[in-house]
């Protein structure tokens, strides 16, 4: 038996999510709207029975993304109509809960009026009533005007919630019908009358008049809407063209008629809200040309520091814990292939997944804090000018910055942008930022191949190289954003529409909820892919198997390490490394580096331990190990020249800076874009870019005679 469905709709920033959380309590789920990458949050709401002792009425609540209007131009904006009417694979709601900002009544009623014109049964909520001053709008006046039940609430404090539950229960048993009919100009009424017979049968859930208005407002030569009946589209275009030829302005006729009515009616309902003195004063500081940017940099520094350093102890603890569990399992089970699979594939794979949790939890704690407090909108306001020049959304700043720590949480953070195009563009460039997993690789190569000398007696060469790699990644990421934004991800220009809501105190509950939701999504959806990839990587590095000699355990360590190197060379990973040698030789790499690059696909820092294996110095090395550095410096090519020169090192670092060799990043992009298309593109473009750039570095260097 399915529960009756209540859809919750409202403008952005009206406390819709807080209200949703209040009503559903602990049982919300996050899914996806069919066909588009937009979160669909749903949960069960318990409505107390009318009589004492009777069982409560249960209903399912779904959260429709915040919007200012039902009129749509893109598939994402179309969600609101589809979800309200139960179109395109969405279940059909029995009731709409319209959340209004009591301090912005007229603009909020504009959206509500569209729902009423569709004739959908609805309940109105006057939320943020506590911010509306001493003489707030009266819910009874709204009920008298529109014929719909109306309850005043404050989702933050919980005020009005019991009354709202009652109103919802009553509305479910006796659906309230809205009473609203705008007097449009006669010519427009004629357009509506002509379009109404053209509406498809599938749209029967809404009133013909409301749907005809939606078609006139939304359809056009350049809309990106799906599943629109071709007959309706053709008829709408005919009416639009006729109106244009007659010098009429359809959009203005519809919108100004609605606003004229609402302005006239609501003037009696609402007083101007009290001035937001505290917010104003804060804004004077936080949007100040000097202090505002300083504060912004300070906030971002804290976020970055948290991801980069504060997460370290937790990550170390997880790694140590996974190591202990692996050792315990290896000790308890007989040595053999199955134990290896369990320890290195499965336990290691689980470790590879949960190691991301500290950064994800911390990042979403800060994102929740910035969003709920109202600061994120200010940051977008401050940074819009700069970010727009770079072709990026104002809110892309936090994901880009987070990319310096790790691309996985950073890509999850692109959810703060509403439009798919902005999200995709950010997702495609974030993995270019110098993440912390690249540092061990750079440290190893710089330490092994570049002298600890100083340029001109004061600039350390090694430090300069490290700084250079950071700058290189920023420049490439911004250039990639510029190119992709003008080509593949070119979209229609979208106006910036930004509300600066008053500053509010975030609640711990909603922060914890966001952190929990995001972590759970990561574990269930991206985690499984990462786990599978770890097992696959283990297989590549293990098979075909070289049988170890009986007494390997008793032999000297050097011999054991030599055997491990042999076994790796014979494995599929070793074979692939050799097979790609012709491809990577022009970059200055031999097959051993090729094996290291394949190992690094699990995570870039794995390059270090894989190289330890390849060179027979054991997998227990780290980037500071002198055994590995010495071995790298001593390695020779077949013709007797050293394998590694500073030039090879530079070429290899450039390759690591650009190549998409991180399965977790690809897994999270797959999760966020719902398919393999974008992760495949990301892999191909980044790795192609890496190959070309390394080729340029190495071959130019050779021409200049630097390969000695």
């Amino acid at each position: 038996m399915s529960l009756p469905l209540i859809a919750i709709l409202g403008n952005p920033n009206v406390g819709k999510t807080a209200l949703f959380n209040r009503l559903t309590g602990q049982n919300a789920r996050v899914g996806n709207y069919p066909g588009v990458t937009v979160d669909r949050r749903s949960g069960t709401v318990k409505l107390p029975a009318a009589e004492k002792g009777a069982a409560p009425v249960l209903a399912e609540l779904i959260d429709i993304p915040g919007t200012y209007s039902l009129a749509a131009r893109s598939a994402e904006e179309q969600i609101a109509l589809s979800a309200l009417l139960g179109l395109d694979g969405n279940p059909r709601p029995a009731l709409v809960l319209i959340v209004l900002d009591a301090t912005q009544l007229v603009r909020n009623l504009y959206l509500a009026a569209q729902v009423m014109e569709l004739g959908l049964p609805a309940v109105l909520v006057l939320n943020l009533i506590d911010e509306a001053g001493d003489d707030p709008p009266d819910p009874r006046a709204l009920t008298a005007l529109f014929g719909l039940p109306c309850v005043a609430t404050s989702a933050a404090s919980g005020f009005g919630l019991p009354r709202l539950r009652e109103a919802l229960r009553e509305a479910l048993s006796a659906p309230p019908a809205p009473r609203l009919r705008f007097a449009y100009p006669p010519a427009l009424e004629a357009d509506l009358a002509a379009l109404e017979p053209q509406l498809p049968a599938a749209w029967a859930a809404g009133s013909p008049r409301g749907l005809a208005l939606w078609a006139l407002s939304s359809l056009g030569g350049d809309d990106e809407l799906h599943h629109v009946d071709p007959g309706l589209r053709a008829a709408t275009l005919v009416r639009q063209q006729a109106a244009e030829a007659a010098g009429r302005d359809l959009d203005a006729e519809i919108i100004t008629t609605r606003y004229a009515f609402l302005d006239a009616q609501a003037a009696a309902l609402s007083r101007p809200p009290p001035p937001r003195t505290a917010s104003e004063r804060l804004d004077r500081a936080l949007l100040h040309p000097v202090f505002g940017f300083a504060a912004f940099l300070g906030v971002m520094l804290v976020v970055f520091q948290a991801l980069f350093s504060w997460s370290d102890p937790a990550i170390g603890l997880i790694e140590a814990g996974v190591g202990l569990v692996g050792e315990a399992a290896a000790g308890a089970l007989p040595a053999g292939l199955l134990t290896d699979l369990l320890v290195e594939g499965v336990i290691g794979g689980v470790g590879n997944v949960i190691v991301f949790l500290p950064q994800i939890l911390l990042l979403f704690f800060f994102i929740g804090l910035l969003e709920d407090s109202g600061y994120m909108a200010r940051a977008a306001y401050l940074m819009d000018r700069i970010m727009r020049a770079l072709g990026l959304h104002g809110r892309a700043f936090v994901p880009m910055l987070s990319g310096f720590a790790c691309a996985v949480p950073a890509i999850m953070a692109t959810r703060t942008m509403e439009r798919q195009r902005d999200r995709l563009l950010t997702m495609m460039v974030v993995p270019l930022m110098t993440c912390s997993a690249r540092l061990p690789v750079y440290t190893l190569l710089i330490g092994a191949l570049f002298p600890p000398d100083q340029l001109f007696g004061l600039l350390p060469i090694q430090g300069l190289l490290m700084v250079g790699m950071y700058l290189f990644s920023v420049v490439v990421a911004l250039a990639a954003a510029g190119v992709l934004g003008k080509t593949l991800l070119k979209g229609p220009r979208v106006p910036l529409i930004l509300e600066l809501p008053p500053y509010r105190m975030p609640t711990l509950q909603s922060l914890l909820r966001l952190m929990w939701e995001r972590s759970r999504l990561f574990l269930t959806e991206a985690g499984t892919v990462i786990l599978a990839c770890t097992v696959l990587m283990w297989g590549l590095l293990t098979f075909p198997r070289t049988e170890p000699p009986e007494d390997l355990d008793q032999r000297p360590v050097a011999e054991q390490q030599a055997f491990a190197a042999q076994a790796l060379e014979a494995s599929y990973a070793g074979q692939v490394g050799k097979a790609i040698e012709p491809v990577i030789a022009p970059l200055g790499f031999d097959w051993k580096i090729g094996v290291g690059m394949i190992g690094a696909f699990a995570a870039r820092e794995v390059f270090v331990s894989t190289m330890g294996l390849v060179y027979g110095v054991g997998a227990d090395v780290d980037e500071e190990s002198s055994s590995l550095r010495d071995r790298i410096r001593a390695d020779l090519r077949q013709d007797g020249r050293p394998t590694y020169t500073p030039l090879t090192g530079l070429s290899l670092m450039v390759f690591f800076a650009l190549a998409a060799q991180c399965m977790s990043t690809l897994a999270i992009v797959k999760r966020e874009t719902r398919g393999w298309r974008w992760p495949a593109f990301l892999f191909v473009y980044m790795t192609g870019l890496a190959w070309v750039a390394s080729l340029l570095v190495y071959q130019t260097g050779r021409l200049l005679g630097l390969d000695g």
Binding site: Y68, S69, A71, R73, T103, Q104, V106, R107, Y110, S217, G220, D222, D251, A252, I255, T256, Y259, P272, P273, D283, L287, H288, P289, G292, F293, Y381, L382, D384, R385, I386, R388, P492, R493, V494, P495, L496, I497, L498, E499, L500
Partner: protein
């Protein structure tokens, strides 16, 4: 003479006369309540000159200079 909103001094109340621009932008702005006849003002300009924060209908709304150029206004109270 109607003036683009982008050229109006800070805090000067003005009356919106016409909304221009391509259809989707124009419709979006009007749907947010920027309809002809409404009184509004530019309350703040972001430190880098863009976007502009408007005071309209008792609330605040930020739009880019590019969109503000499409909003034609006259000084409130006078037809100068």
């Amino acid at each position: 003479m109607p003036t683009p909103l982008s050229q109006v001094p800070l805090l000067q109340p003005v009356v919106l006369q016409a909304v221009g621009g391509d259809r989707s932008v124009r419709r979006r702005l009007m749907e947010l309540g920027l309809v002809p006849g409404i009184t509004l003002c530019v309350r703040k300009v972001a430190p880098m000159g863009d976007p502009l924060e408007l005071g309209v209908r008792g609330g605040s709304l930020s739009i880019r200079r590019l969109e503000a150029e499409q909003l034609l206004v006259e000084l409130a109270g006078g037809r100068s």
